[in-house]
Structure formats: structure tokens, C-alpha cells
């Protein structure tokens, strides 16, 4: 008997250790679509819910390469092709003088790609999310730790999943309306 209007079941815990243990147990029980919420980064929690692929470093690297290459090519094109200025017979492509701006552009683009990439992968900004409908979820940014099993999970069943979560010893369990 599945509730079609349900988004998932949210269990509340008191300590980060308890949350990590609960997340591991839920994964071991065969649930795949789960997530955990904490007021600060908890070590090992991402692994416990089965998250491994972090693309942020790659995106940052791409940003840095684009910024550095673009920064140098811009200076070369301007100083050697579009607007050549002869300074005492020195070469137009005077690369040592272009290093500083190449470096700054590398940093600028890597930083922007890193942050924007992180936000895009996280799907932020996202002003509305079903978990915000649970009043107790306000404590997720204070001192409580939450574990959710999404209703879209193949193994999800409103009754059995609730029983399973109760077995983990949470402080409370709430249904998340969609």
C-alpha cells in the first residue's frame, strides 16, 4: 500500500555518529535512494549514503585551463596581432610580461568554475524542497541530524520502511508530503 502523494520518510537523530550508523544500516538493508542532512559536514556521511563521484575538482581544473589559456591568448592577440606596440625592438609576443595576467585569469576562472559548478551540481539555488514541509526540519541547520528514504526507492513501502527506520532508534519519524 504505497502513498502516491508521499515524498519520503524522514528520521531524526541526535548525534552525527548515530546518523552515519543509521545511514549505513539503511544502505545495507537495500535502500538506494536515500539522503542525509546535517548542520555541518559530517565525515564519512557521503560515503555512508553511497555518494562517491565528486565532479567539482574536474570542473575546477577545466576552469583553470580555460582561464589560463584564454588569458594568455588574449594578451598575445592584443599585443602581437591587433595592436602591436614596438617597445625598444623587443618581441611583440613578450611572454614573461604576460605571465602575471595569465596567472590571475587561471585563478579567477578556476574559482568561478569551482563555485558555480558546485552550485549547479547541487541543484542550488532551489528555494523550494519537499523536506522543508516538515516543521522539525528547521533543526537540520541547528543541532539535529536527519535521514530520508525517498518514496521513489524501489524497496520503499510506507509501512515497512517506517518499521525499519523505527528499528534504528531515531528521535522522531515524519512523513514528507510531496
Amino acid at each position: 500500500m504505497k502513498h502516491t502523494r508521499n515524498y519520503g520518510l524522514l528520521a531524526e537523530f541526535d548525534t552525527p555518529t548515530h546518523l552515519v550508523e543509521a545511514a549505513m544500516a539503511t544502505r545495507d538493508a537495500g535502500y538506494k535512494k536515500i539522503d542525509a542532512y546535517s548542520p555541518f559536514p559530517v565525515e564519512g556521511l557521503a560515503e555512508a549514503i553511497g555518494f562517491h563521484h565528486d565532479l567539482v575538482p574536474l570542473i575546477t581544473l577545466i576552469g583553470g585551463i580555460l582561464g589560463g589559456t584564454g588569458g594568455y591568448l588574449m594578451q598575445w592577440w592584443i599585443a602581437a596581432v591587433s595592436y602591436p606596440t614596438n617597445v625598444g625592438g623587443r618581441p611583440y609576443n613578450s611572454w614573461p610580461a604576460f605571465i602575471v595576467i595569465t596567472f590571475e585569469m587561471t585563478i579567477l576562472f578556476a574559482a568561478l568554475f569551482s563555485v558555480l559548478g558546485m552550485l549547479a551540481l547541487n541543484g542550488l539555488p532551489m528555494p523550494y524542497h519537499p523536506v522543508f514541509n516538515v516543521p522539525r526540519f528547521a533543526f537540520a541547520t541547528k543541532d539535529r541530524f536527519f535521514l530520508i528514504v525517498f518514496a521513489s526507492d524501489a524497496k520503499y513501502d510506507a509501512v515497512q520502511t517506517r518499521q525499519f527506520l523505527e528499528g534504528l532508534g531515531p528521535r522522531s519519524i515524519s512523513e514528507v508530503p510531496d
Binding site: T17, Y37, P39, F51, T60, S82, V115, F137, T141
Partner: protein, 457 residues
């Protein structure tokens, strides 16, 4: 990490006073913004700063109307206060990035309670710094000519000039500092969103929090991005003052044309920046009762950084004098003579007193931990660092190679109005920041508690 904090080294004050929980940390820091009434002291302080901002706007308006002729800059001293203040302010900004990025990479967890307002200090200081070269342009409304953009004049910037490097260095520095600061704020803005009772505040913090909900996947990517930003900001902050020093070192003026400038500028920047951090932290922790979070350990560590960078600066002065003599160049020799005996000799001796001799008091432990003494020493260091830039800019320029082009520099009331005006602008921004944003990173403070650690079964 938590164990180190609990025990600390023998005889060291803790980073966070014992007895706190996730909830008390959250409540104590967020209450400053959300529930505590705005004090009369805040209104008074902000009011004074606001009046100074108005004087600043008046002076800047007059400057736009009349041009840089209202300043004391003349040939041979064409740089004057504008460049002195630019270098001074941007140096102050460096400590914020050092605390937030370099100390993060070095796993100095004591930084967690001072990084937020130190980063805010960086932003406001860089904003003050950035104004001066623009005012100095003469036609500041055409500042966008500095950037390479296709234009009908068929003109491009000259990328072989350190002044153009400066444009890129400072604008990159400001942008990266801003996103670093904002990204650090996002989880705390979510806390404020969830704790606020006021509808308008909930909406505004909610929009700024970007819908942050603390998902484990989000935290993972967030931490990666934050660490990468720290890694990027570290070489960036070292490069910024290096590039600023190139503005001088690449010229052939005696006293400027020296390879020691980049490291000695960076050390000086951190020196003055920590002095400013202390000048802000000491009153803030007292007024807002944050002695639990900004402890004696923070004061002492900052004082130690000041002492160390101050010694590097002292080495820089010594090396300048030594190379003046050892290099055998008569213009360099004259520069040293002119510093010691020329018309500005009083300021050179004051500089030595402020930057080298008085800060040696920091060898005494009591001076490093006593808020009042530390505040006074920080004032002295900030004055000294301002004098250093005055000596570098004015004394080098006023008597260079040709006696026929010697001159003197006299700042006018407009120079002072704009300089003091930026101080008011900086303080006003800090007051607003303290009132509307959490001045201490709440989520990073939570990670300092022993119960934040996941214990293995």
C-alpha cells in the same frame, strides 16, 4: 582534531570554552543578529562612521568636479596619498585571506572563529583600496578603459605594464574573496532562515541561503569546492601584493628598483592585516560577549604572526640599507642618507619605531594576551605600515636623479578627507556586517566540538 582542541598544548587557552553544544553555539552567534536588540552603542558607532562617510562623499564629489588638483600631488610626487592609501588598504585585506585560506590548508582550526569577520574585513579593505587608483585616474568615470574590451577607439591596454597587471590582480582578488566569503556564509544563512521569526528576514535570508538544506551530497561537494577555493586563494593572495610591489620595483627610481620588494611587501601586508584583525576582534569580543569563541589563544596566535612578519619587515629594511651601501650606486646611497637626514627624516624614524622597535614588546607573553596592550600595539603597527608606504612613495620620488626636479609633498585637507573618509566607510561597513550577518562561522564552530566527530563502532 577535536582532541587537540580539548587539551590544547600545555598552558594554552582553548579555542572554544568548554560547556558548549551545537545548540548553544548556534543560539549565541545567531542571537546577535536575530534576537538581541540593537544597542545604543551600535547606533552611536555606526552614526559616527556614517557622518565620516558623508564627508568622504563630499570630498569625492568635489574631487570629481575639480580634478586631482585639489590634492597635494605635483611633479615630482605624482603618486601621493592615493597610492599610499591604496597599498596600505590592500595590505590590510591580506590577513583575511591568510586566515581563511592559508590557515585552513594548514589545519589551524583556531581560525574558525575569526575567519568570517576577517574575510569581511578583506572585502571592505579591498573596496577602500580599489577606490584610490580610480580617483587618481583623473577622469574616474572612464575607469572601464582599463579593461580590455572591443571599443571604437581601436585601443587595447598595454599588457607589459605593471599597472595593468594590478587591475587584473586586484579585481581577481576582490572577486575571489567575495565568492569565498559568500560560499562560507551559505550554510549559516540557512541557519538564520530557519531561526528567524521575522517574515521579511526569513525571506531575505532564505533567498541568500539559495535553498541550502545540508544534504550530505551537497556538503561533500561544498567542502571540495571550499578547499579548492582555499588552495586557489593562497597563491592569489601572495601574488596580489607581489604585483602591487611590481608597480614600484619595475620602475628605476632609487628605493623602488629592488628585488626584495615582493616578499617584503607580502610580509608587511600580513603584518598590518593582523594588526587590523586584532583592532577589530578585541572590541568585538568584549562588546558582544564572545570571549568563549575568540579566546586568549586567538589573540596570542595573531600576536605571534604579527611578531614574525614584523621581523621579516625589519629584515627588509635592513637589507634595503645594506644594499644601498653595498651596491655602491650613488643614488641609492643618497636615498639612504636622505631618509635618515632629509626633510622627512622624522617620519623615517617614526616608521622604525612603530614597525620595528615597539612591536618587540610582543616577545613578552603578557603583551600578547592582554587585550588593551595588544590593541595599542596594533594601532602602532598600522600607523607604522602607513608610514612605510609614505616613505616608499614620497621620499623616493621627491629627490631622484636630477636635483633640478626635486620637490616636496604637502597633503591637502582633501587628501586627509578622502583618507579618513575611507576609514569611516570601512568602519560603517563593518558595523552593518556585524548587525545583519553572523560574524562567526556557525557551522565551522560546530565542527570544533568533540561530539561533532563520528566515533567508530
Amino acid at each position: 582534531m577535536a582532541d587537540e582542541i580539548e587539551q590544547g598544548e600545555a598552558g594554552q587557552a582553548p579555542v572554544i570554552e568548554p560547556g558548549h553544544t551545537f545548540a548553544t553555539i548556534t543560539d549565541q552567534i545567531s542571537s546577535i543578529v536575530l534576537t538581541r536588540p540593537t544597542s545604543n552603542g551600535w547606533y552611536l558607532g555606526f552614526g559616527i562612521a556614517f557622518v565620516i562617510v558623508m564627508i568622504f562623499l563630499y570630498a569625492v564629489g568635489y574631487l570629481f568636479l575639480k580634478g586631482v588638483g585639489i590634492w597635494g600631488v605635483t611633479i615630482p610626487i605624482a603618486w601621493g596619498f592615493a597610492i599610499i592609501n591604496f597599498v596600505w588598504w590592500i595590505g590590510i585585506g591580506h590577513a583575511g585571506t591568510l586566515i581563511s585560506a592559508i590557515l585552513l590548508l594548514l589545519r589551524q582550526s583556531w581560525r574558525n572563529s575569526i575567519n568570517r569577520f576577517a574575510e569581511a574585513m578583506t572585502l571592505f579593505a579591498v573596496a577602500c583600496a580599489g577606490m584610490f587608483p580610480l580617483f587618481h585616474l583623473g577622469r574616474p568615470w572612464l575607469f572601464y578603459w582599463l579593461f580590455p574590451y572591443p571599443n571604437t577607439m581601436k585601443y587595447w591596454p598595454q599588457f607589459r605594464s605593471p599597472l595593468v597587471w594590478d587591475v587584473f590582480a586586484v579585481s581577481t582578488y576582490f572577486t575571489v574573496s567575495l565568492i569565498f566569503w559568500f560560499i562560507g556564509l551559505v550554510p549559516d544563512l540557512a541557519t538564520l532562515r530557519d531561526r528567524s521569526d521575522n517574515k521579511a528576514a526569513k525571506i531575505i535570508y532564505g533567498i541568500l541561503a539559495l535553498g541550502w538544506r545540508g544534504s550530505a551530497r551537497h556538503w561533500h561537494r561544498y567542502e571540495t569546492a571550499y578547499l579548492l577555493l582555499a588552495g586557489l586563494a593562497t597563491p592569489l593572495v601572495l601574488s596580489v601584493h607581489t604585483v602591487v610591489s611590481f608597480d614600484f620595483a619595475i620602475a628605476i627610481v632609487p628605493g623602488w628598483h629592488t628585488t626584495i620588494f615582493p616578499p617584503y611587501f607580502v610580509a608587511g601586508a600580513i603584518y598590518s592585516g593582523f594588526a587590523m584583525v586584532l583592532m577589530l576582534a578585541i572590541p568585538i569580543r568584549k562588546i558582544y560577549g564572545l570571549e568563549d569563541f575568540i579566546t586568549e589563544r586567538h589573540l596570542e596566535n595573531s600576536a605571534k604572526v604579527m611578531l614574525a612578519t614584523g621581523l621579516i619587515v625589519a629584515y627588509g629594511y635592513g637589507m634595503e640599507a645594506f644594499m644601498g651601501w653595498y651596491g655602491g650606486n650613488k643614488y641609492d646611497l643618497f636615498l639612504m642618507w636622505n631618509r635618515l637626514h632629509g626633510p622627512y627624516h622624522f617620519w623615517y624614524y617614526s616608521l622604525l619605531a612603530c614597525n620595528i622597535f615597539i612591536p618587540q614588546l610582543l616577545w613578552i607573553r603578557k603583551m600578547r594576551t592582554h587585550p588593551v596592550y595588544l590593541f595599542l600595539i596594533s594601532t602602532v603597527v598600522l600607523t607604522g605600515m602607513w608610514l612605510e608606504r609614505f616613505i616608499i612613495v614620497v621620499v623616493s620620488l621627491h629627490r631622484d636623479f636630477l636635483t633640478s626636479s626635486w620637490g616636496m609633498y604637502y597633503p591637502t585637507r582633501w587628501d586627509w578627507a578622502i583618507f579618513i573618509g575611507t576609514l569611516g566607510f570601512f568602519v560603517a561597513c563593518m558595523f552593518l556586517f556585524l548587525r545583519i550577518l553572523p560574524m562567526i562561522s556557525i557551522f565551522e564552530m560546530r565542527t570544533l566540538l568533540p561530539e561533532a566527530e563520528v566515533k567508530a563502532e
